[in-house]
Symmetry: C2
Subunit: 375 residues, 2 copies
């Protein structure tokens, strides 16, 4: 038996370690990494030994990801009426987004398994991240992207040498085309939305946070959530630290979506979400109409006493501008959305003035068009 298996969180059935199976054969939900047996692989993150889902003889296939700074946002905090606001600058990753944490672990497993060609679908950060790590690993990479994806992001994906398949239609049509292609060609689907290894990889975020907070736990963390890649990984990290007794409580993990595409936030508040109501959003990183791990995000929201909120386009653009002009932080609109959500959580009383709040800035503003106008 391998030291690691994959498990369905719904029916608890356990499947073999590998990259071929992405969802439960019975429930159709995405699988999670499940550790077992004696052997363990650990990497050191901020002084913690962090369990990893690859063989102990394998070392992490790194491009220098992680180890991002936490900075004070005293001016923005003061503007919002918050005494202790900090940001973790996740855009300071090798391809400019937090995705590199997940990709590093997913590609470590791919190399270990001798994978030579992968397929991913993305219109942005995940595509660039997977393309970069695949290049470094010498793995041929196909990125399926909507024909409407921003030119700048497609350009970055191409830079690393991935073959870009441009697909007309909706974002779902792109995913379907990718799935058809990997099945037809017998390739591995290295999906940031579905892969249990990607989801597991982002947990390093949390160990760094606790190191940077000197063992303290922030009261709230406010995430932009599309597929929940960072949200779920962060929760896993906190769960592990609680299990080992390193920390004694879970922060409240909040999720922010765009009101134009809000499957998780709508379900959270009990509203009916109709995929036909989708409208465009400048927050492209959270424009996910049917998140593979929506159910898991909703469970974590409830478990951690988190809230899910929806923000409008004007609030996102205003926050992007304010972050740059007040704090010198050039965030993607997707990341600015989290701060717009924070503002709502303060207004509605979920977060109070004296609470300690952390917001990850998940992607670099350089990757997108600038949407706010000059003075």
């Amino acid at each position: 038996m391998s030291q690691v298996n994959l498990q369905c969180r719904n029916c608890q059935v356990i499947f073999d370690y590998g990259m071929d199976l992405l969802h439960c054969r019975y429930c159709d939900v995405p699988l999670d990494v499940q550790y077992n047996g004696e052997k363990r692989t650990y990497v050191e993150v901020s002084g913690y030994q962090v369990r990893m889902p690859f063989d102990e003889r394998t070392s992490l296939f790194s491009l220098g990801e992680g180890n991002t700074p936490v900075i004070e946002l005293s001016k923005l905090g003061s503007f919002l009426g918050l005494d202790r606001l900090r940001a973790k600058l996740e855009f300071m990753n090798p391809t400019g987004s937090y995705k590199d944490r997940g990709t590093a672990v997913m590609l470590t497993v791919a190399r270990e398994l001798g994978v030579t060609e992968i397929v991913e679908d993305s219109s942005g950060n995940a595509g660039a991240s997977v393309s970069a790590y695949a290049a470094r690993a010498g793995i041929k990479c196909h990125i399926f992207a909507p024909a409407t994806a921003p030119a700048a992001k497609i350009k970055q994906i191409r830079v690393y040498g991935a073959e870009v398949h441009s697909i007309e239609g909706t974002r779902d049509d792109t995913t379907n085309a990718a799935v058809d292609f990997y099945k037809k060609e017998g390739l591995v689907y290295a999906s940031h939305a579905w892969s249990p290894f990607f989801s597991e990889g982002t947990k390093t975020f949390t160990f760094e946070v606790i190191g940077q907070y000197n063992g303290e736990v922030p009261d709230h963390i406010v995430f932009p959530v599309g597929n929940g890649g960072l949200y779920l990984g962060a929760w896993r990290g906190f769960s592990e630290l609680i299990a080992t007794g390193e920390i004694d409580r879970m922060p409240r993990l909040h999720a922010v979506q765009s009101e134009n595409i809000s499957p998780i936030a709508s379900e959270f508040i009990g509203d009916k979400w109709d995929i036909e109501t989708i409208r465009p959003t400048i927050a492209g990183g959270i424009a996910v109409a049917a998140p593979a791990r929506a159910g898991q995000v909703l469970d974590v929201l409830r478990e951690t006493n988190g809230m899910a909120v929806m923000v409008d386009e004007v609030a996102v653009a205003d926050m992007q501008r304010m972050l740059a002009r007040k704090e010198g932080v050039f965030a993607e609109p997707t990341s600015a959305a989290a701060f717009a959500g924070l503002s709502m959580l303060l207004s509605e009383g979920t977060i109070s003035k004296g609470d300690s709040v952390l917001v990850p800035v998940t992607g670099f503003g350089l990757k997108d068009e600038v949407r706010f106008s000059d003075d």
Copy 2:
């Protein structure tokens, strides 16, 4: 007497601490930080106590700069015929370039001195960096830029709220306009090329390198050099570590320029450099026709047994492509130029197969247009 003064490296005359004087009243060369007296300010970098030129009651005004990773480039190394090639990913800084190290220290001093409005001239990374830190500090910022500067870089400068003054004519005309403006308006010239504090700030690079090499000294470091901002700071760091006995030797510090704008490399090999021979280069970060600290760079080249080489445009574009496609590193053309220079240093025998070589990747490729074509 302040704990810090400014000194002319030519005539050794010492001037008072401040931001008003940038060059020696007698020799016209840029000044350097000179430490004296009992009191000292230190910041911790990779476990080393690093001396800083601001008051001990002042803390570094940080935006999360530094602490960048060093990664192995085994595929590119193997292609070039080098066993131990590493890169330090300096583009993983808050504004996407190494400049943030120097800006952090320069703006710390500006805040300490109560400066409220600054002027800088730049067509790219330095402008974005100074603009970002000024925004965070609440300091009004004027960036003078050539009318021909890349739109993407000007956009980033504007994002942080700086007032951009677009100047027709040569790069020198831009500098002259900035100088006229700061003098006329009685403002502070926060010049990355001239400020002794900027130059001092980049030395943190070296302390991190020695930490990442576990106390070993790489045999060679190959820098892209325009104004020599990182080159000189790195040298200062090594000089301090040798002075305190932490390391016992200086690496050879090499400088790479574009053959289209090569004031330092030309003088190094004894060629006459004529400013009229300037041609455009895709390596915009080293397109400096009259570097303020050229004399100092030449001295360090001689002291460290470094070489200065010039590279052509095709080699730069090829190296940018190869870094992305082989290693997953999306470098600015300016940073790719250093690797093109490395290739020359290998060909001519300055660097040998078994030597340990480090190259800083100074700026993110996202900041520039992509110049190489797709497959």
